[in-house]
């Protein structure tokens, strides 16, 4: 079906020009969405008026400056990094596990991170006030995510070879065990803690601040910078591990880098924004339908589209019940779910085989 429109300039079936063109459009989209998001909020402040003021050489009012620079800008940047991080991680995991339904949750990162967050929220109250600050929950989430991932990696690696199949199954077992431990802790939680937990699980960009961004941002950014280097390795892995090695790919190195990059990006994303589901599966899948599964552009485009999607979801979450906010996870699932179903139904053939 898709192949019909793919008569490239010279070689049929070469869809890289589609990926390249798509990346330009997605970059433009992200810029527009970022500006809209900057101008979107409870106060009447809008980006055009600020730009007009700036062009006319007028000073910004202090309140406007605070709103724009200290509240909206970190939130927009957080949304970009988290959205890009989740979508790129999803694309990498799907390539590594050779399965379009894989996501970072399979690595135990999400369950480990949620155990960290649960522990911090429920047990944090028992700590002396000097230690328990705002950073306790994100820090515990990040540590939990990494601990779970390293444990899983150790379980699945024998004699320097990581078994992807073992990792998948052990991830499910580990998630169940972590869930049980989390349940035990939740059992002790009081009402306010339960409310915090529920909201953390639904995800939100509301807590975004420069401080959090400075800590978590570089971690996600580093993973995003490493990601494109994985593209030819992930393309090779689509043929299977043995065939990938035969075409000259250092398979174990690709696997390790993929797992570390994903754990870093997801761990940091979950730490600052809670559990935001679905971006990691829907975005890469949609892009594969549009421009093919070649990871060279898939990873870049996933980052761009993931960022835009999350910013749009955040704008919606800020508008529907304004001045209050809906957790963003509700929005991504509510829009992402039906959309994904529609894509699946209209492309059944792409799934089989």
């Amino acid at each position: 079906m898709v192949a019909l429109e793919l008569r490239g300039d010279n070689l049929a079936g070469d869809r890289r020009h589609l990926g390249r063109a798509l990346s330009m459009w997605l970059l433009a989209l992200l810029m527009v969405v970022s500006l809209l998001s900057l101008g979107h909020g409870a106060s009447g402040l809008s980006v055009p008026s600020v730009l007009a003021d700036w062009a006319a050489g007028r000073e910004l009012a202090v309140t406007d400056r605070v709103i724009l620079i200290d509240i909206r800008l970190p939130r927009v940047l957080t949304g970009i990094l988290v959205g890009a991080g989740l979508a790129v991680s999803g694309a990498i995991m799907q390539g590594l596990f050779r399965n379009p339904l894989a996501d970072p949750g399979l690595l135990g990162v999400s369950s480990g991170a949620s155990l960290g967050a649960i522990s911090a929220i429920v047990l944090g109250g028992m700590l002396p006030a000097a230690i328990a600050g705002w950073y306790l929950v994100p820090l515990a989430a990040f540590a939990g995510g990494w601990a779970a991932m390293l444990l899983l990696y150790a379980i699945a690696t024998r004699q320097g070879r990581t078994s992807v199949a073992t990792m998948l199954l052990a991830g499910i077992a580990l998630a169940a065990m972590i869930g049980a431990v989390g349940g035990l802790i939740v059992y002790r939680a009081d009402d306010q803690q339960l409310r915090d937990l529920t909201f953390w699980g639904l995800g939100s960009l509301a807590g975004a601040s420069w401080t959090k961004l400075i800590v978590a941002g570089p971690v996600i950014a580093a993973a995003l910078i490493v990601a494109p280097a994985l593209s030819s390795g992930l393309n090779g892995l689509a043929l299977g591990e043995a065939a990938a090695a035969h075409v000259g790919i250092r398979v174990q190195r690709v696997k390790t880098a993929a797992i570390l990059a994903t754990a870093a990006a997801t761990g940091a994303a979950v730490a600052i924004s809670g559990g935001i589901g679905f971006v990691g599966i829907v975005v890469p899948h949609l892009l594969r339908l549009l421009a093919g599964p070649d990871h060279r552009w898939l990873l870049v485009n996933s980052g761009l589209l993931g960022a835009s999607v999350l910013l749009v979801a955040d704008m919606i979450s800020r508008s529907v019940v304004a001045p209050a906010e809906l957790p963003i996870g509700i929005i991504t699932a509510m829009i992402g779910g039906p959309f994904f179903l529609w894509v699946l139904m209209s492309n059944r053939r792409m799934l089989d085989g």
Binding site: P100, H246, V247, R288
Partner: protein, 262 residues
Amino acid sequence: MSLCARDLSLRLRRRLILNRVAMTAPPGALTAIIGPNASGKTTLLRALTGEIAPDHGQVALNGRDLAALSPGMLAAKRAVLPQHSVISFPFTASEIVRIGLTASAHPEARRNVLIRSALAAVDLPDFAGRLYQEMSGGEQQRVQLARALAQVWRPTGDDGPNWLLLDEPVSSLDIAHQLTVMRLARDYASRGGGVVAVMHDLNLTAMFADHVVLMRNGQVQGEGAPAEVLTDALLSKAYGCNLAVSRTPAEGIWLLPQMASV
């Protein structure tokens, strides 16, 4: 300048699969590895590709120990066609063949020429834009062969012959395409390259192989020219049933690939 197995022993899950195997595939020749099921043919080929390391012995590619070569160096000298290939995402034929060029340093224009030539060589010239998932099993196998072929397109390099290692290259092909693929392999060998193929079909082996390695129970039962190895005695013993070479049945119909003409 050949592909040699020297005293290879290999265990998989404690079972001895290869037992002191020694064989030499000469360059400029098509070497067929034959033998009954579970005789160790495919494992021998996997050891020759470097995919699995032997417990004992070594494999030498053009005189160099396989274990000492990096994946990139190996990829430049030999390409492998696996037996079954499931591909996880909807790649087009030309995208798959391009993956074969991952480790090469060819400029873009050369790559496009190689992809087109390789697809034409396996008789799929118009398939570049087709999705792998929408092809038949035989077409998929030929796309994979094109991928391997593009990887080591020139049969010889600056440092000796290049190698095509094929695991049952004609297993899911019709007779016309079996002949296409076997001619392609023989042509590669006649231009100076080395070809090693695991073969099930003894007629095609007799027709195309220059050198035959007969395996049984993880050991080499016979090695040499087809006329030396494809004998009643050796084949009957290896396959466990009475076989008669070059004799015709008294009745019934039968068909030989040797009698096909294009």
